[in-house]
């Protein structure tokens, strides 16, 4: 009996997955085939979306880049005549075109993503779902759960990498009738999307992780703080919570024990700083999301003054697996101080962008080249950006660096939530630093003067450097400001805001100098520092560039060499992109 799964995460839907899903259902109904079509989460291979998997008794066939036009052949040849359309299949028993992407991965957090239907609690249960919480409630004391998580070596996947079990222990030791669990699903780091994918593809694993944490610290109430930009994740969570309530997995006397637990969802309202735990709690309380001084830590005084334990989505998703398969197995993966796996969101100038879950300790080169397939358009690999606005750029020359929490911190970047943006030779590092400062300056809550004013001053300096108006001592001023901002800010946002600037100065100082002294952008990216001109030999006078030029800067009659008027040119680069003959030159 055949079954069909269509990847319907946000990435799959925007690649046309929903149209494919509807068309498949329609065709199957018209032809009366009686084959079940199910939705599933993101399989991680975002670059191959839309993905359709046809499963039969002996094999499964994964079709990639499926469009509505391809459905006819798949239905007629594969579903009706049992002849799979080989050329569109990337994975089956015999075919393994995407082996390199998958074989180096070790899926713990993403174990069910793209495998089960996220809207079905029964499918989650079939895949060992809610076994861990049942086991914990029946056989474990609170302290035993905490010890087990400490022994597993699990560290918080939200960025700072604090040992999860220790955090639970602090909250457990605090005596209080009321305690809260919070799941931080405010994945604000631009460039990271693993939490979204887990929430969309396997929401129950997060709920189960939260239940185990709640039991361990003695809490009966939890909030999931999810950013409003993830409407599908919120919808899937709502469904999952309802299903748990009707099965009795949430509510009173869960699995016949005296453990009671409820989970509520709070939608974020768009503020990056709310990923910081004290700001997040202020936001749940209905206030402006402004961080406060720690101590007291949330484990002592958190939400509404009660002891609170906050972990992020990926951390919680690890927990049921650790209970089910043992801490020994988990801690056998990874490096000495960073255990288990980490999900990385590969994006930027990489061939195969998507989600990859690998054991800690894999090198940057292995991730970029072996899994990610290398750089788009075979350009030169320049650097990876890790940790988003709080992180930094690690140059290609350090590609053999083994990724774990401590190694990354040594470079000046941070692990962050695991966004890994690949940069090639066309990315200007000064412009990238400017981009991040623009972001943090916008998102600074304004409480600390150094963060509020200092990031603004840094941004102004970076802006003038990128338009060729940099001054001799600008790099020194940037470093001085960076030091002061990170020393005089309350929360992680301000403390780490200068990281993108500091790491690019550390590893790419010559690019800053080229901008400042020579008024040149070595990557040909900063528009104020480049000119476009037309090569007289290559130009055949086709007129394509004239058509796309929005400022009427290009002149020339048909079949004659064209000419760009520099005074009118706004340097948008459209002519450069559109020319097939390499006749438009960037200087």
């Amino acid at each position: 009996m055949k079954k069909i799964k269509v990847g319907l995460g946000t990435c799959g839907i925007s690649a046309g997955g929903e149209l494919v899903y509807n068309k498949l259902k329609e065709e199957i109904k018209i032809k009366n085939l009686g084959i079940e079509v199910k939705e599933t989460g993101c399989m991680g291979m975002c670059y191959e979306e839309a993905l359709v998997e046809v499963v039969d008794d002996n094999d499964s066939f994964l079709y990639s880049n499926v469009t509505v036009d391809k459905i006819g052949r798949i239905v007629n040849e594969h579903l009706i005549n049992n002849k799979p359309v080989i050329e569109w299949i990337i994975k089956s028993n015999e075919i393994s075109k995407e082996d390199a992407f998958l074989k180096n991965q070790n899926r713990i957090v993403l174990r069910n993503c793209g495998v089960i239907d996220p809207t079905s609690i029964d499918e989650y249960i079939e895949h060992d779902g809610y076994k861990a919480i049942e086991k914990v409630l029946k056989d474990f004391t609170q302290q035993e759960v905490i010890d087990l998580i400490i022994k597993s070596g699990l560290r918080g996947r939200g960025g700072a990498g604090f040992t999860t079990g220790m955090k639970w222990n602090f909250a457990n030791q605090e005596k209080s009738e009321k305690k809260y669990i919070i799941c931080n699903a405010d994945e604000g780091d631009p460039g990271a999307f693993m939490d979204r994918s887990v929430l969309e593809g396997d929401p129950h694993s997060v709920l189960e992780g939260m239940m185990i944490a709640a039991y361990a610290i003695g809490s009966d109430e939890a909030y999931i703080y999810c950013r409003a930009e993830y409407p599908l994740a919120i919808k899937r969570l709502r469904t999952a919570i309802k299903q748990c309530e009707s099965k009795g997995y949430l509510g009173k006397n869960i699995f016949g024990s005296n453990f009671n637990f409820t989970i509520k969802i709070k939608e974020g309202a768009g503020a990056f700083v709310c990923g910081e735990e004290t700001a997040l709690m202020a936001s749940i309380e209905g206030k402006r999301g402004v961080p406060r001084l720690r101590p007291p830590f949330p484990a002592n005084k958190g939400l509404w003054g009660k002891p609170t334990n906050i972990n992020n989505v990926e951390t919680f998703a690890n927990v049921p697996w650790i209970i089910n398969y043992g801490w020994e197995k988990y801690s056998s993966l990874g490096t000495e101080k960073s255990k288990g796996t980490k999900v990385f969101a590969l994006a930027g100038k990489i061939k195969k962008s998507g989600l990859a879950e690998v054991p800690m300790g894999m090198t940057i080169n292995e991730i970029v080249f072996d899994i990610g397939g290398g750089i788009k358009n075979d350009k030169k690999f320049k650097a990876v950006q890790m940790g988003g606005p709080s992180g930094g750029c690690i140059p290609a020359s350090m590609g053999d660096l083994k990724i774990d929490y401590d190694e990354i911190v040594r470079t000046g970047a941070i692990m962050g939530s695991g966004g890994l943006i690949v940069l090639d030779e066309t990315t200007c590092m000064v412009d990238l630093a400017r981009y991040f400062l623009n972001f943090t300056q916008n998102e600074s809550c304004g409480k600390c003067t150094f963060c509020r004013v200092g990031t603004k001053r840094m941004l102004e300096i970076l802006e003038r450097i990128t338009i060729g108006k940099g001054k001799e001592n600008d790099v020194d001023i940037l470093q001085d400001l960076a030091y002061k901002i990170s020393k005089n800010s309350l929360c992680g946002l301000g403390q780490s805001a200068p990281n993108p600037v500091l790491t690019t100065i550390k590893y790419f100082r010559e690019e800053y100098e080229a901008h400042i002294h020579d008024k040149k952008c070595p990557s040909h990216s900063c528009s104020a520092l480049i000119d476009y001109s037309i090569d007289e030999v290559n130009c055949k006078g086709c007129g394509l560039c004239i058509k796309v030029c929005s400022s009427n800067a290009i002149t020339g009659s048909k079949k004659a060499v064209h000419y760009i008027n520099q005074e009118l040119c706004i340097k948008c680069g459209r002519c450069f992109d559109v020319c097939n003959l390499d006749a438009v030159i960037k200087n």
Binding site: C11, G191, A269, G289, L346, G419, Y435, E443
Partner: protein, 168 residues
């Protein structure tokens, strides 16, 4: 909006407040504002006073919360909301030229609404579809792997749709 319309909308809001209050005893201000914005498309001044009375928080403080979060608007939006992603992956994959194309086509910049009220343009920190960069979101639909040409085609589609709606 005249008073009867506000009254009408208040009843929608009342209903939602009821729901929200039952679910969240504490910290209901942000969900209330979200509910108000869902009903009105923005947060009208009158509603701020109304919520203020309801939850016993001064209007000034509520205003502070509204302006803190980028989700909340104090002005109505156009019929279609276009959000351009400014995430890192989009930035390095040319989001800037996508923004130029959008600005050229619509004649407005970020934070503005077209004169005919059909489109509003906003930026967003990250939509989380980094593998499809550069990305925009029109209402609830995400469009990825954009080029300047693609933008033109997509906008054309929405404009024709809008015309059809007006004609019918």
């Amino acid at each position: 909006m005249n008073d009867t319309e506000v009254q009408e909308k208040k009843s929608i809001l009342n209903f939602k407040i009821d729901l929200v209050n039952k679910r969240h005893q504490n910290g209901s201000l942000i969900p209330l504002l979200q509910a108000a914005q869902d009903s009105y498309g923005y947060i009208p001044e009158k509603i701020i006073y109304y919520i203020s009375e309801l939850v016993g928080i001064p209007a000034a403080e509520i205003y502070g919360v509204i302006t803190f979060y980028s989700q909340f608007r104090l002005k109505p939006l156009g019929k279609n909301l276009i959000r351009i992603c400014e995430g890192t992956a989009c930035h390095v994959n040319g989001a800037k030229s996508i923004l130029t194309a959008l600005q050229d086509e619509l004649g407005i910049t970020i934070g503005e609404t077209t004169d005919d009220g059909i489109c509003s343009l906003q930026s967003v920190a990250c939509l989380g579809c980094c593998s499809l960069a550069p990305v925009i979101m029109i209402n609830d639909a995400t469009h990825g792997n954009l080029t300047m040409d693609k933008i033109k085609k997509i906008l054309k589609k929405y404009k024709t749709k809008e015309k059809l709606r007006e004609a019918s």
